[in-house]
């Protein structure tokens, strides 16, 4: 179907960026669920991959999608950055398309239409006081 991507077993990976100190390279930690043979429970097993990031747009803490390169770029770099899935501090909910943080949406916070009558009168009074002070001086 596509060009034979050899060399690496993992073609597409999702991981978390843990380091960006290298130029144009991101250190990504990938966790996979591995079955413990005695407990028969799945635990996360970590592995770090290095990914080529030409625009250096990754920050530590981003969740990224990596794509395997057709051939190795250097001794350790075998993947490249395909897409930043969730940018740290700027998560966008894919279903609604709105920015969110944790379990609430962020866009409703600074909405001046939601202010009540009491709020607007209080604020306008404060503004009047400020104007008076400035003319005195």
């Amino acid at each position: 179907m596509s060009i034979p991507r050899g060399a690496v077993h993992a073609k597409w990976i999702v991981g978390r960026v843990i380091g960006t100190k290298m130029q144009k390279t991101a250190k990504v930690r990938v966790t996979r669920l591995v079955l413990d043979p005695y407990l028969l429970k799945f635990f996360n097993k970590r592995k770090t991959y290095f990914a080529h990031d030409p625009l250096q747009q990754c920050v530590v803490g981003d969740i990224v999608l990596l794509k395997a390169l057709p051939e190795r770029r250097s001794k350790h770099v075998k993947h490249e950055l395909a897409e930043i899935v969730f940018k740290v501090g700027n998560v966008i909910d894919p279903i609604t398309g709105k920015p969110c943080a944790g379990t609430r949406f962020l866009e409703n916070l600074s909405d001046s239409e939601n202010l009540t009558e009491a709020d607007t009168t209080y604020l306008s009074e404060k503004l009047q006081e400020l104007k008076v002070c400035s003319t005195d001086k």
Binding site: S2, K11, L33, L35, L65
Partner: protein, 171 residues
């Protein structure tokens, strides 16, 4: 002495092998975003608790990642080999509905699974004997109705070579 944990049945091989979602070979990564509180995420939480071990057992080469409390709405996301992404909204769905849905959109059908079973069976011949790794049975003595293993039950005199040669020499 009962098993430890809340629902320790999840940690039995029998439960794990009862999972019926086998993904198509194009599915590489599965990501589940869910919340630890709230009614809408209840189905997603149950899905993660009960069904993810079954799915991972059946699909050991699919990377499964779980994210908690990142977005207000719970969803599943699949990354396929051709770059395609499948987004599945699981808000207000029970865990059974979620598994059924995934099986329908990205799971191998029953016919494909049966075909693969047949192919695997063809490779090994059931009528041969040998090591457990490659054959069903190791020795004829294991089968009911055949001569039992002489290590457990001594053979009758007439079948022993010692007796047979003695009789022949006598005659």
């Amino acid at each position: 002495m009962p098993m430890k944990g809340r629902f320790p049945i999840r940690r039995t091989l029998r439960y794990l092998s009862q999972g019926d979602v086998v993904f198509k070979s194009a599915v590489k990564v599965m990501t589940v975003n869910y919340n630890t509180a709230g009614e809408l995420s209840e189905g997603a939480r149950k899905f993660v608790f009960f069904n993810i071990p079954q799915i991972q057992y059946k699909n050991p080469w699919v990377q499964i990642m779980l994210f908690k409390n990142m977005t207000p709405s719970p969803f599943l996301r699949f990354y396929l080999d051709n770059g395609e992404q499948v987004l599945v909204d699981v808000e207000d769905k029970t865990n059974k509905e979620i598994t059924e849905h995934i099986k329908k959109i990205l799971g191998k059908s029953k016919e494909t699974l049966e075909k693969e079973e047949k192919e695997r069976k063809k490779l090994s011949h059931p009528a041969t004997f040998g090591p457990k790794k490659y054959h069903l049975r190791e020795c004829m003595c294991e089968i009911e109705g055949q001569v039992p293993c002489p290590a457990i039950v001594p053979l009758p005199k007439e079948m022993r070579g010692k007796y047979k040669t003695a009789m022949k020499n006598e005659a």
